[in-house]
């Protein structure tokens, strides 16, 4: 097994200002060998800037970039063992596919046969066999993407940097290329940073996500963690729909992980291992629509049920989407829909069950 302890790439307290504007405000993170990490966040949050700092194209105002144990912060791009694929692909339009891929190898003074062998390998890797002699304007957008990828990989970098590589492709091709990139990445096990502003793209391709907003890391975690255990309200709303209820900790039973919480809609109990939340704290209960369930009122189970009225019901085959009015709030519920399962209509009074494992957040 690989030594999972020492990261391939480490970012240490990176700051970056353009003039008076601080775009990155202290970014620290690390990436394991072979991992695919995405930088994701709204437009202008500093993803490209951070990636360019890793690649050596933009100097950081302060902070360090450490590659495989070596501080590379002050090295120019060509001296770093990282290679970048630009959003615009930046293919050399006056060279054919082969020459593009071979460019870096030629500079490294590889022999002709070695270069040819390597270029063939790369063409095969990106499924472009036989297209080597084509000119750049004679291949499609997706193929250009592949060439850019092959060109960056030809030099065998330790870290591959991809800046929104799919944004110039149409919707169908994006999905295909996304899977393709992931497959190639896993096949050769290259450590990769992938920049995107598309949450779903990020969720589906990454081992872990680094969510940026306003130059600050909001959360680093696996797709499951980001979805199920968002670190704050922004992250909670970042992927998919989420219901948020305000509450207050009444009591944390000593030594136990059970929180007694009072909300304006009734009292509930939630199990959580969070240590930073205690008696009297204002909190948010975060529940995804599919984690809630609806029951007829007066059903046997009293605990964790709050009363509401069905506003709308949308039947969507495998599930039903309800909007339920609870006090002044509309709660969205996705109910799994096996045959003959109970369904509710407009104005029905229902009981909404909050799962005991719902996520809680401290209110800011």
């Amino acid at each position: 097994m690989e030594n999972r302890r020492s990261p391939m790439l480490e970012l240490v307290d990176i700051h970056k200002s353009f003039g008076d504007v601080e775009v990155l405000k202290g970014i620290s993170s690390s990436i394991e060998k072979g991992e695919l990490l995405t930088f994701v966040g709204p437009s202008g949050c500093g993803k490209t800037t951070l990636l360019r700092i890793v690649g050596g194209f933009t100097p950081a105002t302060s902070g360090r970039v450490i590659l495989d144990g070596q501080d590379i912060s002050s090295l120019p791009p060509n001296m770093r063992n990282t290679k970048m694929v630009f959003q615009s692909y930046a293919l050399f339009p006056h060279m054919n596919v082969r020459k593009n891929i071979a460019f870096g190898l030629t500079l490294k003074k590889w022999s002709k046969t070695e270069i040819n062998k390597r270029v063939d390998e790369m063409l095969e890797l990106v499924h472009m066999e036989g297209l080597g002699e084509r000119h750049i304007d004679q291949i499609s957008g997706g193929q250009q993407q592949r060439v850019a990828l092959a060109r960056a990989l030809a030099l065998g970098p330790k870290v591959l940097l991809l800046d929104e590589p799919l944004s110039n492709l149409d919707a169908n091709l994006r999905v295909v290329m996304r899977e393709e990139i992931r497959k190639i990445q896993e096949q050769i096990g290259i450590t990769t940073i992938f920049v995107t502003h598309d949450q779903y793209e990020a969720m589906s391709i990454s081992d872990r996500l680094l969510v940026l907003k306003d130059g600050v890391i909001q959360q680093i975690g696996s797709p499951v963690e980001i979805y199920e255990k968002p670190a704050n309200e922004f992250i909670a709303g970042f992927v998919g729909y989420v219901n948020i209820l305000n509450g207050k900790i009444n009591e944390r039973a000593n030594g136990s992980n059970t929180f007694k919480i009072s909300t304006t809609y009734g009292d509930i109990e939630i199990d959580s291992e969070r240590e930073d939340i205690g008696d009297g704290d204002e909190i948010l209960v975060v529940v995804r629509p599919e984690s809630l369930s609806l029951k007829k009122p007066n059903s046997a189970q009293k605990l964790n049920g709050i009363k509401g009225t069905v506003l709308t019901h949308m039947y969507a085959g495998n599930h039903s989407k309800y909007s339920v009015k609870v006090g002044d709030k509309n709660i969205v519920v996705d109910q799994h829909n096996p045959k003959d399962s109970p369904r509710y209509q407009h104005n029905d009074t229902v009981e909404l069950l909050i799962p005991r494992n719902a996520h809680i957040l401290k209110r800011q």
Partner: protein, 561 residues
């Protein structure tokens, strides 16, 4: 559609006429414009062509035979080509250095270098003859200072003056090319391990090559057509443009002048065709999707230093030229007798020439802008056959050497029905039609921005053509109108090569007066008049910019096009 049928017949004949005119006005205008272009552009050029084949005894090739027999003639062709080629090569290098530094160089250097590179635009090209004579002439300031025995009336002088004069053209085109390259491409090459030399050689220059070639060709055409610098500094070396003038003023030989003109046109036509057909659309569209804003990186000293030496040396000459012209207007003789005098500035002849030039330039600007706007509209919105030909004709004035059109005008308008020789109108018309291109192109690009649907919508609302033209199109095209006006005004103010054939004794224009005084070595008068021209062009630009700002149209982007 409205259900209330309106029968035109009920509205009487006047309605029918209006309806007809309304429907066909664009084509009616087009017909008029074709006629005007034919008379004032095609006919003079045709007249030159005919004159070169038509002697006293009818059709003959004698004049061409003569041209290729006597070395005095054919050497002027060879010299002209040498001049064009050397200026082209030098300016390609110098322009590239300037453009590289202003697009990729250190931040503090970009603005000043750009200003210096564009500075010659504010002055007529022959300013550099005067400044070089003042600096390096027989009594030249620098020659005296360092005891040089350097003769500026030579190849070196002509080439230097031409390079300085056409630096902005070369710079603007190359800068444009370098700016249009996707910065990520150069970054990728650096990422792959290429040094900056390698990047320039194997990425930047190959990618810029089509654009560089276009720039070079344009510089070549402009230099071989230039009259002032070779005429003033050429000494005994024959060049085509000045020789054409001598052929007419000295020998009164219109046939030979026409032959020289045709010979001068040929390379221009070849290059015009290359430029517009062979090279059109060539080049690499390197920006796909979003290009990342890049931070300037340090250029390595091995490139920065030589580029800086070249640009600083050339820049210094440009700045010194302006300084010397300014100083020269207020002292007796720069470097020889530095007493302050006002004689040059208040000289009556000089002021009369300036006054004449303003009058001519305002008229040319006004008519040029009208014709240019109309042409643009008709070319873009008309549906008649020959729109392309019309556009070509309109733009050709720009591509043809001024001396040729000058010769054409004296030949064409010397006899009834178009007897214009000796009037101020021949000068005005000459300038209107030579400088049409910018007004037309500004208008066309403006019309590209506005959808024809605006016009269709107003027609739908019930406006007829004239209403649409005056209420919708003219206001929208006002900025193009102003651009045409400014450009024609400025270029007429400075133009020499064509008008020198058309002025009559006693009616001098500023440019002609500058040329004549420079020839006679009256550098003080030449400098003072040049300063006034620069000043007026600057004021004119200022005023028109204010008007443009008040009306909310930005014209500044169109300058120097």
């Amino acid at each position: 559609m409205t259900e209330v049928a309106i029968n035109p017949v009920n509205r009487g004949w006047w309605y029918s006429v209006r309806a007809y005119v309304n429907k066909n006005l664009v084509n009616i205008f087009a017909g008029g414009l074709f006629l005007v272009l034919a008379i004032f552009l095609v006919y003079p050029i045709a007249a030159v062509l005919i004159k070169s084949f038509w002697g006293d005894d009818g059709l003959t090739f004698d004049f061409y035979r003569e041209f290729f027999t006597y070395n005095f003639y054919y050497w002027s062709l060879i010299n002209t080509l040498i001049l064009g080629l050397s200026t082209m090569v030098i300016l390609l290098v110098v322009g590239f250095c300037f453009a590289y530094l202003t697009t990729r160089g250190p931040e503090w250097l970009r603005k000043p270098l750009k200003i210096v590179a564009l500075l010659p635009l504010a002055a007529p090209p022959y300013i550099f003859s005067i400044s070089l004579i003042t600096l390096f002439g027989r009594n030249g300031f620098i020659n005296n200072l360092f005891n040089f025995d350097f003769n500026i009336y030579s190849w070196v002088g002509v080439i230097a003056a031409q390079c300085l004069a056409f630096l902005p053209l070369s710079y603007m085109m190359i800068e444009n090319v370098l700016n249009s390259l996707n910065p990520s491409i150069e970054e990728t090459a650096a990422d792959m391990g290429a040094t900056e030399y390698k990047i320039i050689r194997s990425i930047t220059i190959p990618l810029a090559a089509p654009g560089l070639l276009k720039a070079a060709l344009l510089v070549f055409v402009m230099t071989i057509a230039e009259f002032g610098n070779p005429a003033i500094l050429g000494g005994r070396t024959p060049f085509l443009a000045p020789d054409t003038y001598l052929m007419i003023t000295g020998e009164g030989d219109f046939n030979m002048a026409s032959v020289l003109s045709v010979i001068l046109i040929l390379p221009c036509v070849v290059i015009f065709v290359l430029h517009n057909y062979v090279l059109k659309g060539k080049g690499y569209a390197t920006i796909v999707g979003k290009a990342t804003p890049t931070e300037k990186k340090e250029i390595i000293p091995g490139i920065k230093i030589p580029f800086m030496i070249i640009t600083f040396a050339v820049g210094l000459l440009v700045v010194m030229s302006f300084v010397v012209i300014l100083v020269g207007s207020f002292v007796k003789i720069v470097g020889v007798d530095n007493t302050f005098v006002m004689d040059h500035i208040v000289n009556t002849q000089s002021n009369t020439a300036i006054y004449n030039s303003i009058k001519v330039s305002l008229a040319a600007g006004f008519f040029g802008a009208i014709v240019g706007t109309l042409l643009a509209y008709v070319i873009m919105r008309g549906k008649f056959f020959g729109r392309h030909a019309m556009e070509m004709m309109a733009l050709s004035g720009f591509a043809l050497p001024g001396t040729v059109i000058g010769v054409g005008y004296i030949i064409a308008f010397n006899n009834p029905p178009f007897l214009l020789t000796g009037t101020i109108w021949i000068i005005i018309l000459n300038c209107v039609f030579r400088f049409l291109a910018v007004g037309v192109e500004a208008g066309i690009s403006k019309l590209h921005q506005i959808s024809i649907e605006i016009e269709e919508a107003s027609a739908d609302l019930g406006a007829d053509f004239l209403t649409i033209f005056f209420r919708i199109i003219l206001p929208i095209m006002f900025s193009a109108f102003i651009a045409g006006f400014i450009y024609t005004f400025m270029t007429t103010m400075m133009s020499l090569s064509s008008v020198i054939f058309l002025v009559t004794p006693g009616f001098d224009l500023a440019s002609v007066y500058i040329y004549l005084t420079a020839q006679l070595g009256e550098l003080g008068l030449a400098s003072a008049t040049t300063v006034k021209v620069i000043f007026i062009v600057a004021i004119g630009m200022g005023i028109l910019k204010i008007i443009a700002r008040k009306t909310g149209f930005d014209v500044s982007k169109k300058q120097g096009a």
